[in-house]
């Protein structure tokens, strides 16, 4: 399979007055063509910053300080501002967590979707762009598309807005769709519909998806390969079956255990002790060691990423000789 996107040793640091926050520190992973890659982790572990780094939209005072992002054979970090603007929305697009505030309140959704076309294809007439927007609105399952296109975001529910956002992201047929917790703000039934929609459209448009979430059940359902992030690092990568059947890293293990399950009877749900350390005060060595019940002397040194079985990598001293 061909790799569409390869992130190599990406480092995105935030330069704050209190010090340097290493939000993404030496992260490497790749996404194959036509694949859904799930990125999981708790809040504040660097998932969103990774996504924004790929888009080159890291907010100040954050900066990409090292690494490579190879997309279709070219390093995105070497692109100029204008080249990058051309890629955004045309080859890579993104949908966000909060559908309620992500659309501009003063324009109709048809306008915003049509604009996404015209921005990249100025030769397309507005009427044509509008027609395509209406078509796309229908595609994402919004009933009555012609009338809905003229409606404003405040007239729509969260699920509808997220559908509109998906329409906007897919209208230019991008190669990669970055979905940053697209279902987190939606209720469960709508979540399932949105997931199904994304899977269907992914097939139809032959796009790859980088799916960011903290919800393991979603990952299990839709992704092919999974990366587990903790404290700005990817601690375990593998295909979805090996991660769920044979989790290696104690953090992945903890995450899986803290998921409610129907096939096991438990009195109380497991939870990983402690919380994610602040960006500014990661412990030396393994960043998970303070919360890890298997920590031992070696953990004070930074563990290497090792391949335990084919395509299944883990960054933990338990598995390196």
């Amino acid at each position: 399979m061909k790799k569409l996107l390869e992130v190599l040793n990406l480092k995105t640091y935030f330069f704050l007055e209190e010090g340097v926050g290493k939000a993404v520190d030496d992260v490497s992973f790749f996404i194959n063509e036509g694949e859904i890659f799930g990125l999981v982790g708790e809040s504040g572990c660097g998932k969103s910053v990774t996504a924004l780094s790929i888009m080159r939209l890291v907010p100040s005072p954050g900066k990409i300080v090292g690494g490579k992002i190879i997309f279709e054979g070219e390093n995105l970090l070497e692109k100029s501002y204008e080249e990058m603007r051309d890629i955004r929305g045309r080859k890579i697009s993104m949908i966000f967590q909060e559908p309620m505030v992500v659309l501009n309140p003063v324009y109709s959704i048809g306008f915003q979707i049509a604009e996404a076309i015209v921005v990249h294809y100025p030769e397309v007439s507005w009427d044509e762009a509008w027609e395509r927007a209406v078509y796309m609105i229908e595609k994402v399952g919004i009933p009555n598309p012609r009338r809905r296109a003229e409606e404003y975001p405040y007239q729509m529910s969260g699920g509808m807005r997220q559908r509109a956002m998906i329409a906007m992201a897919l209208i230019n047929n991008p190669r990669l769709l970055i979905a940053d917790e697209p279902t987190t703000a939606l209720d469960v039934t709508v979540q399932a519909q949105i997931l199904e929609l994304m899977e269907r459209l992914k097939e139809e448009y032959k796009a790859s998806i980088l799916f960011i979430t903290h919800d393991l059940s979603i990952i299990a359902e839709i992704s092919h390969r999974v990366g587990v992030m903790y404290g700005g690092k990817i601690v375990e990568v593998g295909d979805v079956f090996s991660i769920f059947d044979r989790p290696l890293h104690p953090y992945t293990f903890g995450l899986l255990n803290s998921m409610p399950r129907l096939d096991k009877e438990e009195k109380r749900l497991y939870s990983i002790p402690g919380s994610v350390p602040s960006l500014l005060s990661f412990p030396q060595g393994c960043r998970f060691k303070d919360r890890c019940d298997k920590a031992f002397s070696l953990c004070d040194k930074e563990p290497p990423l090792v391949e335990v079985e084919s395509g299944h990598f883990v960054q933990c001293w338990l598995f390196s000789k």
Binding site: V101, L103, A116
Partner: protein
């Protein structure tokens, strides 16, 4: 169109805003129909006040001069009718251009931030360091007499408020997710500023502009009153009061003998400003985003 009708409907609901609207409309009608209400004596130069004679002393209202004549026998009624045109011209021009400059400067400053913001805001501070009236007066004196010079001076020292206002809104609006989303579909900075953020932040500017219509006209009148504004004999309310200067105290034993020389122009200015302020207040209430949310179409 619905929007305009809705705003109008709300304007008419409230008595004070209704009054403001009536006053402003009244002046607008006076300005539009000035040639009918007070036919000019010199059609080529309608703003030139007609003289009723050569005597210095003002004369009281008479059938020929319904509001009387002021110093130098200039007709007060004519001055007020054509002065309405002057007032609208000065008000609209100064407010529109200073708002335009302020919005562009403030938007760029707020959106880009960093050192661009720093430089622009320090320049703004320098402009704000001068007292408005004094600065406008000095600039008008340097540029020379004439209404256009007054307007230039008022614009040159009137844009900073708008710049600060819009910068503040931009600082918060640029963090909104819809801005990030627009960036993520590849919209250029220019379009994000003027197409995406500006429509969301323009309301305070509209309110500020409608509120400052009155004060701009007052300041222009003040400049004319001080003798650096409109040229001699020009139909301008400030000028009219300026002619009344020597007659405000009246004659010995008859303090209010020349009341018409200052009551008519002074009252007109007060009424005009009152009208705009009431309207501005009403517009602020109507455009308040918190009140707008409640509305269901």
């Amino acid at each position: 169109m619905n929007e305009v009708l809705w705003v109008l409907k709300r304007l008419l609901k409230n008595p004070s805003s209704c009054l403001g609207l009536v006053i402003v409309l009244f002046f607008a009608l006076v300005a539009i129909f000035a040639p009918v209400i007070a036919p000019p004596e010199y059609p080529d130069e309608p703003y030139l006040l007609p003289k009723g004679g050569w005597a210095v002393e003002p004369s009281p209202p008479s059938p020929d001069h319904p509001f009387g004549t002021t110093e130098g026998q200039y007709d007060i009624f004519y001055g007020i009718v054509w002065g309405a045109r002057t007032a609208f011209k000065v008000g609209f021009m100064t407010v529109i251009f200073s708002a335009l400059i302020g919005v562009v400067v403030g938007a760029i400053s707020g959106y880009f931030g960093g050192w661009i913001d720093e430089i622009i805001m320090r320049i703004t501070d320098i402009f704000m360091a001068f007292p408005f009236l004094v600065a406008a007066m000095v600039l008008t004196t340097i540029l020379g007499k004439g209404l256009d010079k007054v307007m230039i001076a008022l614009i040159a020292f009137g844009w900073m408020g708008y710049a600060r206002l819009i910068r503040g809104s931009f600082l918060s609006a640029k963090e909104e997710l819809y801005v990030l989303a627009a960036k993520a579909i590849g919209v250029s900075s220019f379009k994000i500023i003027f197409k995406h953020i500006l429509p969301n932040t323009i309301y305070p500017v509209i309110i500020q502009a409608s509120m400052s219509m009155g004060s701009m006209v007052v300041t222009a009148s003040a400049l004319s009153f001080l003798g650096v504004g409109a040229p001699d004999g020009y139909a301008d309310w400030g000028q009219m009061i300026s002619y009344a200067r020597n007659w405000i105290v009246g004659a010995p034993g008859e303090a209010l003998r020349y009341w018409y020389t200052f009551v008519y122009p002074g009252g007109t200015i007060a009424l005009f400003v009152l009208g705009w302020n009431l309207l501005g207040d009403a517009i602020r209430d109507i455009l308040d985003p918190k009140l707008r949310r409640i509305r269901v179409r």
